[in-house]
């Protein structure tokens, strides 16, 4: 919302400091995003006093002027305007000034005479279309005074961020009212230059149907339009608006159209009442009826578009058909133009939900729909019509022959809210004395009746505050005017509940710590991806790249690896903890909390002491990280060789279900990059069981190495299992220390070295105990894994 500082000042009858005003509005809940100087380009133009005018020796139409611009030297200026006169002040642009059109003034010779600047016309300054000569200034201001000060065009545009609950702040009166409420200032409608006193009585209250100056007006849909105010203006001359009106509109970024349209826009910006002016001569009947659109009905709106209407929309129609989409936009057929003389002015209150639905259905958002959706003041329609009529009459003449009519078939009372001062204290944490509460609410426009017998205040809220509906809304108003800053902020005792940290968060922390320790960097990737078959898709995606929810995490990490490769980063080790999505059994998708990782590049950073290039991370590095991830995310699950793929490990839960995988990952790999591996594991959020201390061994271990020849097809895990079964209780651990393939072994065979570690609690083992255990292990291997033999040494 754009606001003019001068417009606000006109309401408050006092000057406003822009920064101070912005700060105050911020503390009232309407932060100012920007303060933009208006007519900034005119700030370099000054008042110039022409002291002498002489004919140009070489040109009949040019004059030589001596200009006093406030400096010690007089300026010689060549001027072509017929109206230049000595002793008169004009806008003067010195050499170096940039004019609104972008022209930069230079010192130059015109027909042989030096010219040091320019006396300007209104048009050259962007102040109007009048170029019948330079602009004489009606001022006593000394030469050199900035023009903006003299013309009162210096202004500041506040760009205010208005929250959707505060439609009253979408106009100057509302914001001025807010400033006045904060300071206790008075508030009055600004005077309009040249506006006649309208010889009108009070508005004529009517039911669902009435006539005004020969026009029949009726509300057939009082639910959508409970209140409709109108007046007829006759003998109006439609034309350009005067400078003061245009300047005001332009100050807030609104383009001037003609005096009638400008008058309605003025009222919209001043009172937050969207209005519409119809060309009365083009209304059939003449009549205007508020009703639902008929099936198949259409209208050409002011923007020239033909729009199909449906019965969910309300229209303002004449005897022929729709002349306006109610609360959204007028129709072209009855648009006010230069030939218009008689005008029907309308100001209605529209049901926000209906406007919202209509705006969406038509894809047509307007200033009017924006305001009606948020809720305008239902009580000031007649004020708005009167203001608009004054503006039209002041700028285009004409007359209003009959009182404003106010159709209000089912009058309602302003909402009444009961407020308990005790509740204010309870919510705010401090007592606010009830006279203070009353004062704040009255300043906001509420009517307050205190009822000491039940400790409540009966508060009638003003029409411009549709957001005030219940007690807590008033509590907020009290806090706001009291000032959030003046409430204390001492830390008071509090109770903590029984609740514990969500185990899912605890699990995430544990996994994150563990993978960081593995040398992986945490990434966060967008869970939105391009849609594939079977994905959970987004119904209204902003782009095809973000049209579905990811089904896994590794895919996103692989894209991150490609991003790193594109930056010539070869060593990439990433992990992510996040949610993967799959279609659920009902509308709710399944959400799986997972951890995934990718790694490629050297196993460890290369070092100059290494012989040759540093080795790349291989599948064994992957397996190591995967085992760590499984231990972190799925305690109890084991890493096994996949049975359905030759290049995968899987994590298997105790119940046999799969909880994750590890293996190579497909990506767009440049030739210099190392192989890419990845893993993904579902996170079991169940809290971990208690960890109990294992006593440290107090006796030495005995180690025995066994080199066994494994024929093709025999897995180390089978041998380990057999060794373990055979060895008995004294075996503490089995480690695989070496693998050898090559000369001296049967074809396809390999020699694997197993290190068996034995230990007994409380005593030192003797060979006499260990040797038989080793023999039992070997026997178990021979029995359970045929073809395995001891390697001859």
């Amino acid at each position: 919302m754009n606001l003019s500082r001068r417009w606000l000042e006109a309401f408050l009858r006092r000057p406003l400091d822009p920064q101070e005003t912005a700060a105050r509005l911020a503390m009232l809940g309407a932060p100012v995003d920007a303060i933009e100087p208006v007519a900034a380009e005119l700030r370099a133009v000054v008042v110039g006093m022409v002291e002498d005018v002489r004919p140009h020796p070489n040109a009949d139409r040019l004059r030589l002027c001596l200009v006093n611009d406030g400096g010690p030297e007089r300026r010689h200026v060549v001027c072509g305007a017929a109206n230049v006169q000595a002793g008169v002040r004009y806008p003067f642009a010195r050499v170096g000034t940039t004019l609104p059109g972008g022209l930069v003034l230079e010192r130059r010779k015109i027909r042989g005479e030096v010219s040091e600047g320019m006396l300007c016309s209104a048009r050259e300054l962007g102040l109007g279309d009048d170029h019948e000569g330079i602009l004489p200034l009606d001022t006593d201001a000394p030469p050199g005074t900035p023009l903006t000060r003299v013309l009162a065009v210096d202004d500041d545009r506040f760009v205010v961020d208005v929250t959707p609950n505060r439609p009253d702040l979408l106009c100057h009166k509302g914001v001025a009212r807010e400033l006045a409420a904060a300071t206790g200032d008075a508030l009055r409608l600004p005077e309009l230059p040249g506006a006649p006193e309208l010889p009108l009585g009070s508005p004529r209250r009517e039911g669902a149907e009435a006539r005004v100056d020969g026009v029949r007006v009726a509300i057939e849909d009082p639910e959508t339009c409970p209140r409709f105010t109108a007046a007829v203006l006759r003998g109006v001359k439609v034309g350009p608006s005067p400078a003061w009106l245009r300047r005001r509109l332009e100050a807030v970024g609104q383009r001037s159209i003609n005096n009638v349209v400008d008058a309605t826009n003025w009222v919209l910006l001043e009172l937050n009442r969207p209005m519409h002016a119809f060309d009365l001569a083009r209304l059939a009947g003449p009549e205007l009826v508020v009703r639902r659109a008929r099936p198949g009905e259409s209208i050409v709106t002011l923007d020239g578009q033909r729009r199909a209407l449906d019965p969910a929309m309300a229209v303002v129609a004449d005897a022929r058909g729709a002349q306006a989409v109610g609360g959204v936009m007028g129709g072209q057929e009855s648009e006010v133009g230069e030939a218009t003389t008689d005008i029907f002015l309308e100001c209605a209150w529209w049901l926000p939900a209906r406007i919202r639905a209509t705006r969406r259905a038509l894809g047509l958002a307007t200033e009017a729909s924006y305001r009606f959706e948020r809720g305008v003041d239902p009580t000031n329609g007649a004020e708005a019509v009167r203001r608009c009529a004054e503006l039209v009459l002041a700028t285009g003449g004409g007359e209003v022959r009959e009182e404003i009519i106010d159709l209000w078939p089912q009058p309602t009372h302003p909402p009444r809210i009961f407020l308990r001062p005790a509740r204010v204290a309870r919510v705010l944490g401090v007592e606010v004395p009830w006279p203070r509460i009353e004062e704040y609410l009255v300043r906001l426009g509420c009517t307050v009746v205190f009822k000491p017998e039940d400790g409540r205040m009966a508060v009638d809220v003003p029409g411009w505050r549709p957001d005030l509906r219940e007690e807590v809304d008033l509590v907020e108003e009290v806090a706001r005017l009291h000032g959030y800053g003046s409430l204390p902020d001492e830390l008071r005792p509090f109770r903590v509940g029984e609740r514990r940290d969500d185990p899912a968060e605890v699990a995430d922390d544990r996994i994150r710590d563990g993978l960081v320790a593995q040398g992986l960097r945490e990434a966060r990737m967008l869970p939105l991806v391009a849609a594939g078959a079977g994905d959970v898709s987004v119904h209204n995606p902003l782009s095809a790249d973000h049209a579905a929810l990811r089904r896994d995490l590794v895919g996103g990490l692989a894209r991150a690896v490609e991003h790193n490769w594109s930056a010539h980063v070869r060593d990439v080790r990433l992990f992510e903890i996040g949610t993967a999505f799959a279609p659920g059994t009902d509308d709710r998708p399944r959400e799986d909390r997972r951890v995934a990782g990718v790694l490629t590049g050297t196993r460890e950073p290369a070092h100059w002491t290494d012989a040759g290039p540093a080795p790349d991370a291989d599948l064994w590095v992957l397996r190591g990280v995967f085992e760590a991830a499984v231990a972190l995310a799925q305690p109890g699950a084991t890493v096994q060789v996949a049975t359905d793929a030759s290049d995968r490990w899987v994590a298997v839960r105790l119940d046999g279900s799969r909880a994750g995988w590890a293996g190579p990952v497909a990506a767009d790999r440049p030739p210099w990059a190392a192989p890419l591996y990845g893993f993904e594991v579902a996170i079991d959020p169940a809290p971990r069981g208690p960890v109990s201390y294992q006593p440290l061994p107090d006796t030495p271990a005995v180690e025995r190495d066994l080199a066994l020849v494994l024929p093709d097809g025999v897995l180390a895990a089978q041998v380990v299992a057999a060794l373990r079964r055979g060895a008995g209780r004294l075996l503490e651990a089995i480690e695989i220390v070496d693998e050898y393939r090559g000369a001296g072994l049967p074809p396809g065979g390999r020699s694997v070295a197993f290190r068996l570690r034995f230990r007994a609690a409380g005593r030192t083992l003797r060979d006499a105990e260990v040797d038989p255990a080793v023999q039992r292990s070997l026997a178990a291997v021979r029995e359970e894994v045929p073809g395995v033999s001891l390697r001859a040494t």
Binding site: A479, L491, V496, R500, V536, A560, V569
Partner: protein, 343 residues
């Protein structure tokens, strides 16, 4: 002095000059259990006359202690020397051996810090699903249906028909978890809720369609706006430093009332006004307010008896501000060079 002892004393003087192998040999030769000269001498004391035995014995024992000390000293000196030898003649400016180091994401770092501060104020973490119903995301939180307040959140909907709780959508804030926690019914509640949220926003330097929020909720008897201010001001000073100024200004969120924005004094200019704070000297950090009575009632909690406050903030914004990250997309690139800068 006994002549044998005199000879040994001379050998003692030479110990500091012995090499490693010589030292070992000399140790055996002098103190060896079987054939050490001094050992033998000590054993032979019994054969000496009593008066000699006393004098020689004392001297021999002293000599043995001296030898032991000398051998020990020499051994340590040789070890130190050997250690130094590895450094001698080496270019010590050459780089050391590195290991791959992991790191936490900058957003995680901010979440960790925020969590730690609130943990100290008795808050525990709670979470909830990312796909939610319209009811939980909006209506239970007192968003008026068919009202422009809904436009404050550009929502991504999932396909499918509207169920009893409305259409499914991707939560636009973590606030539905407030409802989930409160509906469990156990009071008092003090939770913080970190989580991923979605908006129908373009992916550009300052917007992301997916980002993180961390939200807080405290509900009990007697909680007031004073508690809200105190808690959040404490938080701001803990996160940004004890000299941080804080201000609360009115705002609007459908699920809180009174609602506020909390600003902290700009970390860059210290409150004097700069480009980063648009000249205001303040930076918006979080939204907050007293839990709206309708929200409590929607969760089956008596709003006459219980009150509470809630707040929410964006860790991405805080991370960008804290680390000076200019483009939010960098947080979602997975760039190794970027991710390594913060842990």
């Amino acid at each position: 002095m006994h002549p044998a002892l005199a000879r040994l004393a001379e050998r003692l003087a030479r110990v500091p000059a012995l090499g490693a192998a010589e030292l070992e040999a000399e140790h055996v030769a002098v103190l060896g259990r079987k054939s050490g000269e001094l050992t033998a001498l000590l054993k032979s004391l019994a054969t000496l006359p009593l008066e000699d035995r006393k004098a020689v014995g004392a001297e021999a024992n002293r000599l043995r202690a001296d030898f032991e000390a000398a051998f020990e000293r020499r051994k340590a000196a040789l070890a130190a020397e050997a250690g130094r030898a590895a450094w001698r003649g080496v270019d010590l400016t050459m780089p050391g051996r590195g290991r791959w180091t992991g790191s936490r994401h900058p957003v995680t770092l901010v979440l960790d810090e925020v969590t730690a501060i609130f943990r100290g104020l008795g808050f525990v973490r709670a979470t909830g699903p990312e796909a939610e119903s319209e009811w939980l995301n909006f209506l239970a939180l007192n968003f008026p249906a068919d009202h422009p307040a809904m436009d404050m959140h550009d929502t991504l909907y999932l396909g499918g028909d509207a169920g009893p709780e409305g259409r499914m959508l991707l939560r636009t804030h973590t606030s539905p978890v407030q409802v989930r926690v409160l509906r469990e019914g156990a009071l008092p509640v003090r939770v913080i809720i970190p989580g991923t949220v979605y908006r129908k926003d373009p992916f550009d330097a300052s917007h992301a369609p997916v980002f993180t929020q961390v939200e807080g909720l405290a509900v009990d008897e007697g909680i007031s706006f004073v508690d809200l201010k105190a808690t959040l001001a404490h938080f701001a000073r803990a996160l940004f430093g004890g000299d941080t100024a804080v201000r609360f200004r009115p705002s609007y969120f459908p699920f809180t009332e009174p609602s506020a924005e909390m600003d902290v004094s700009c970390r860059i200019c210290g409150g004097n006004g700069c480009a980063a704070c648009k000249g205001s000297g303040w930076m918006e950090i979080l939204g907050c307010g007293m839990v709206h009575p309708t929200v409590l009632a929607n969760c089956g909690i008596d709003p006459e008896r219980y009150t509470g406050f809630a707040f929410g903030m964006g860790p991405e914004r805080i991370a960008m501000n804290r680390f000076g990250i200019p483009d939010i997309r960098q947080l979602y690139d997975g760039d190794m060079r970027f991710l390594g800068q913060f842990g």
